[in-house]
């Protein structure tokens, strides 16, 4: 059981890290702010989601599980708010990168 859980954790966290790496690469390599933003938010949501998912079986209490989920939800909320704000700023500045 614990072997299975550990395997699940390792797989999920590794997959999450791949998304983080992809997001970071996008941030560095993409030409304009809009697509950078896109790469960052999409990849990070999935990356963090996978990391949180992977860590869930490692928690030994309900409180820990709730806290992990709360972290994920708060990060989602924050980036859901900041992404459009940056995009809006971009539009106001005339789309300059």
């Amino acid at each position: 059981m614990s072997l299975l859980a550990d395997g699940f954790t390792i797989l999920c966290v590794l997959a999450g890290l791949v998304f983080f790496a992809a997001g970071t690469a996008g941030l560095l390599r993409f030409p304009d702010t809009a697509s950078r933003l896109h790469a960052l938010t999409k990849a990070d949501h999935l990356g963090l989601g996978l990391v949180v998912l992977g860590l869930l079986p490692q928690m030994d209490s309900l409180a820990g599980i709730l806290r992990l989920l709360a972290i994920w939800a708060l990060v989602l909320l924050a980036s859901a708010a900041t992404g459009p704000m940056i995009a809006r700023l971009l539009r106001r500045q005339g789309g300059a990168s």
Binding site: L77, A80, A81, G83, P84, M85, R88
Partner: protein, 313 residues
């Protein structure tokens, strides 16, 4: 072990790179943004150093509130359209200062390496005496009992800082609301955050305060979160800043330090030493101080970020 070292090395490299970038760039906005990232990495470093309480404080105050403050400062300074008239430091002087600073860094590095081994530590003494305070978190024990004087004085320093910031109010601003007027944002992402986040944040702050007695957390971290939950609707124009001459505001500001001092003086009367808690009363008294102090510090931190009152346009 090896993995830990690699993590430490990466973290160290990241912190140094961000700090260098922060100093190298001449654009204040970029510098402030880099500083926030630096603060967050620093919080991770604190976690690695086994100092979770400090990590929380660094993330909330060192990176969070300082970041808001600095970014806000950059924005408002740009609004004042003040071209920096001062000349840059000359290249020769820059090099000389650089050499001097490198020498200082090397000397401090050498001092760190030459610290005695085994390191002197008060951890055993804290562990031995923590039981008398009924607290489980040793850092809270130090802050509220063994070295309670520092915490008390610090709360007074924060209050004095509010007086200082207010003392910088321009002519005609006295008696108005703290800080610049914020444009009202009715919809959009900021308005959403400003409406959704505060109830959540307040719950989290109370949680951080409550667990602080036994786990990482406590009044400073909780106060920083509470201050942020006030600042966000303020920035969205949804929650007005208070008038600085409001009686309730000044009473809340003063309540925490005043209660702390009065309980300390009570200890002097009852137990023969300032800040001595009567046996069995340590935890309830500490909790009472922490709760009131959280309110005072939260208000003070928010007012510090808002800035001095300004004359109406």
């Amino acid at each position: 072990m090896i993995l830990g070292l690699v993590a430490d090395g990466l973290l160290a490299a990241g912190i140094l790179a961000l700090a260098l970038a922060c100093v190298a760039t001449r654009r204040a906005f970029a510098s402030a943004a880099l500083f926030i990232a630096y603060g967050l990495l620093l919080a991770l470093a604190w976690a690695r150093l086994g100092a979770s309480d400090v990590a929380l404080t660094e993330a909330s105050i060192g990176a969070g509130l300082s970041g808001v403050l600095l970014l806000g400062g950059v924005r408002r300074l740009a609004g004042l359209a003040e071209p920096s008239p001062d000349a840059e430091t000359g290249p020769l002087l820059t090099v000389l200062i650089g050499i001097g600073c490198a020498a200082v860094a090397l000397a401090i590095g050498a001092a760190v390496l030459l610290l005695p081994d085994p390191a002197p530590s008060l951890a055993p003494q804290v562990a031995a005496n923590l039981a008398t305070t009924d607290l489980g978190n040793p850092v809270t024990g130090v802050l509220m009992s063994f070295r309670a004087l520092d915490t008390l004085l610090e709360s007074a320093v924060v209050l004095l800082a509010v007086v200082c910031v207010w003392a910088l109010a321009p002519e005609g601003g006295w008696g108005g609301v703290a800080g610049p007027r914020q444009p009202i944002v009715r919809d959009g992402p900021l308005a959403l955050l400003a409406r959704v986040l505060p109830p959540l944040g307040i719950v989290i702050a109370i949680h951080i305060l409550w667990v602080g007695a036994d786990a990482p957390g406590g009044k400073f971290q909780a106060a920083a979160v509470l201050a942020a939950m006030w600042l966000m609707p303020w920035m969205a124009g949804l929650a007005p800043a208070p008038r600085i001459d409001a009686r309730w505001l000044r009473l809340v500001l003063a309540a925490g330090p005043a209660l702390f001092i009065l309980i300390g003086l009570g200890g002097a009367l009852a137990e023969g030493a300032f800040l001595a808690y009567p046996p069995g009363w340590a935890k309830p008294l500490i909790l009472a101080i922490e709760i009131v102090l959280t309110a005072s510090i939260a208000v003070a931190l928010a007012l510090l970020v808002m800035g001095p009152p300004e004359p109406p346009r």
